[in-house]
Amino acid sequence: MKLYQSINNYLLRNHPNIWITRIHLFAPIAIVVFVLLFGLNALMGYNLHDKMPRIEDSIPLMIIPILVYLVYWFVFQARYNVEKSGGKLNLFQDYLNYFSYFLIFFLSFMLLMVIPMSTAYKISNSVSKDQLQKDIKILNTGYGIFNENYNIEKNEDIITFRSPNKFGYSNHGIVKDIKLSTKAFEKMTTNYINTFNKYDKKGITLNTSELIRHAFSNDVLPDSQSWRNSVRYKVDRIQELQKKGCCHEFTDDSVFMILGVFLAMFALLVWIFKQIHWKHYVFGLVSILLTPMLIGIVGLIFFEVFDFDESGVFLLVYALYIGFAIKVIAAVLSPQSNKSAIVMAMYLQLALPFLPVIIFGDYMSKRSYFDGFEDHFVTVYIVSWIVGLISIAVFKYIYKRLTVLPSKK
């Protein structure tokens, strides 16, 4: 607490632009909560007898705490403002603030994912990699013999199991024919029972000799009750997490790209909130939220009534961009403030990063083939990011100008 107080006092007196972001309070809170929850959940461990948890089931658990966290943080953002209080922020400080908002949203996302991630972590660590490979080998062999109806031939002390060429555990390839001595078969059977029962609470209730008799009488062990609760699924899942990494589902490139868009837009919304009066902001936000409905209505009119094709729609979208830009530029040059222009500026800034995507969509719609779509899309994605970041520098001036002008009423 003392450390926080001294950091708080230092930032207040020397870096008020950072102090108002409250990143020194909210980032450590998020990190500590993340570490604690991750640690606690990981420490609780995963009991191999338990049903394999579904990662997505635990995502909603953190929604309410995160909303509380974000609302509380946003209240602080509403309370203090350097520029509205008469101070000045240079461009570097504005970008610093923007990325601090981005960080807060990123940490919120991490908190949302802490239970799924720690669950995945504890599942992947529930068995060591070496042990899992040994188990898989035993289970594969056992599964082939006791569950897949191998043809068994006994010749003196050698027992041959002829594979029906089916897949075994965890896509480990086709289980080949197996030749075992009677003693080795007994040992293998015992190992199979032990290993299987390690992953299944109900497990195999037969002892070694009973199971061998079972196999010789060509009886097949029934599979587990449900796929998610089956030993096959558990072993598969653990191996997948161990191979690809426990967080691979959250760190996929496409996940990062989509996440990046959301976090960047949320951070931009907070940054815009800091630039304009809250009444204009709320009005702008409501307009933006109603936009999909408006697009639907306009789209319906143009497609159904005027029989527009795709290129017509793209033209309409470009016209809207140009119209908004003209309105904003006119307001910047005007001697008095224009509230609707402030809202339009907000609208335009939020829509600008999507312009490269729209242009790309227009370009692709005119081509008959989609060669190298993904490579191009990554380039467009990066361009969109750059446009969004540059918009901060441009719109900082626009908002400043629009808000400093005297109002009409």
Partner: protein, 302 residues
């Protein structure tokens, strides 16, 4: 130097049709100017125009000498003006933190910020309350803390809209005395324009006064010159007598009675002391008397 000059300033509200018309006045550097008038006569509109918060339709204004809006730009103009609206926005967090924040964003950083705040709050008699929160202090102290906050920015012009409207008489006097001290402080070089309906208090501290009636400028000039061109003397009084008593006692007297108070107009030859002596000679008691011949108070009666 004229901090602000308005020539033929006009503003019309399209929704209710109210017009502020042909306003001409200037604000002198190092002066306190009071804007007085009844409710809905354009005081707030005028102050908002001065502060650059509201646009005007016609006329010309200059700031800080002969600077026009085009040459100076609104950003620069507003950075030198501190505007305190009628409703002061709430502060969040500790009062000290708020003041330090205000100092830090103006590049008064680290220990220097503390030193500046300590000096300022001591001057305004706020040291005892600086550790409190907004919700823990009275309206009067909130106004003084807001004033302290504004002063940190070292503005050239303080624009205060009805600052003493919600204060008790002691708080009003204390606040106005603070204003006088601030303006008199040679290190600050700040001027004040404030609106109010407390005529007596405003005339006590203001160097000049602007009187508005129905959006028209009735008087703009120095306080001590209000009655210079008058054609009669005006008094307000209360006592144990009636209107007939006054009309019988004085020749050429015009008497209006509002509740217990008589507003009288007499010739310039009849001074206030002669007037009151004549009444007292009739063994009547005077409970209240005020000579408003040189006060904007008389403008309300016109």
């Amino acid at each position: 130097m004229n901090l602000f000059t308005a020539k033929n300033l006009s503003k019309t509200y399209s929704n209710n049709g109210f017009k502020l018309q042909n306003i001409n006045f200037d604000l002198q550097s190092g002066h306190i100017s009071g804007v007085v008038g009844e409710n809905g006569n354009g005081k707030t509109t005028l102050l908002r125009i001065v502060a650059g918060d509201l646009s005007f339709d016609e006329g010309e204004v200059t700031y800080f000498g002969n600077g026009t809006i085009d040459t100076l730009g609104w950003e620069k103009i507003k950075s030198r003006i501190a505007y305190i609206p009628q409703r002061i926005p709430r502060w969040y967090g500790g009062l000290r933190d708020n003041l330090i924040f205000e100092a830090a964003i103006r590049n008064i950083k680290s220990d220097k910020a503390d030193a500046v705040i300590d000096e300022l709050v001591e001057k305004l008699g706020l040291t005892k309350y600086i550790h409190l929160k907004w919700s823990e202090i009275s309206t009067g102290y909130r106004l003084r803390f807001q004033l302290a906050k504004m002063l940190i920015g070292s503005p050239d012009l303080l624009v205060l809209d009805e600052p003493i409207a919600n204060l008790d008489i002691n708080a009003q006097n204390k606040f106005l005395a603070d204003l006088r001290d601030i303006v008199s402080d040679e290190n600050r070089k700040v001027s004040v324009i404030l609106s109010s309906q407390q005529l007596h208090e405003i005339e006590n501290i203001a160097d000049s006064v602007i009187f508005l009636k129905a959006g028209q400028l009735v008087y703009a000039g120095e306080v001590n010159k209000i009655g210079e061109s008058r054609t009669h003397n005006e008094f307000e009084l209360q006592g144990d007598f009636d209107k007939a008593f006054l009309t019988n006692l004085f020749k050429d007297i015009e008497v209006n009675q509002i509740a217990k108070t008589f507003h009288v107009k007499v010739s310039l030859e009849l001074t206030s002391s002669d007037f009151i002596k004549t009444i007292l000679k009739q063994n009547k008691t005077v409970h209240y008397f005020r000579d408003i011949s040189s006060s904007t108070r008389k403008l309300f009666n016109q």
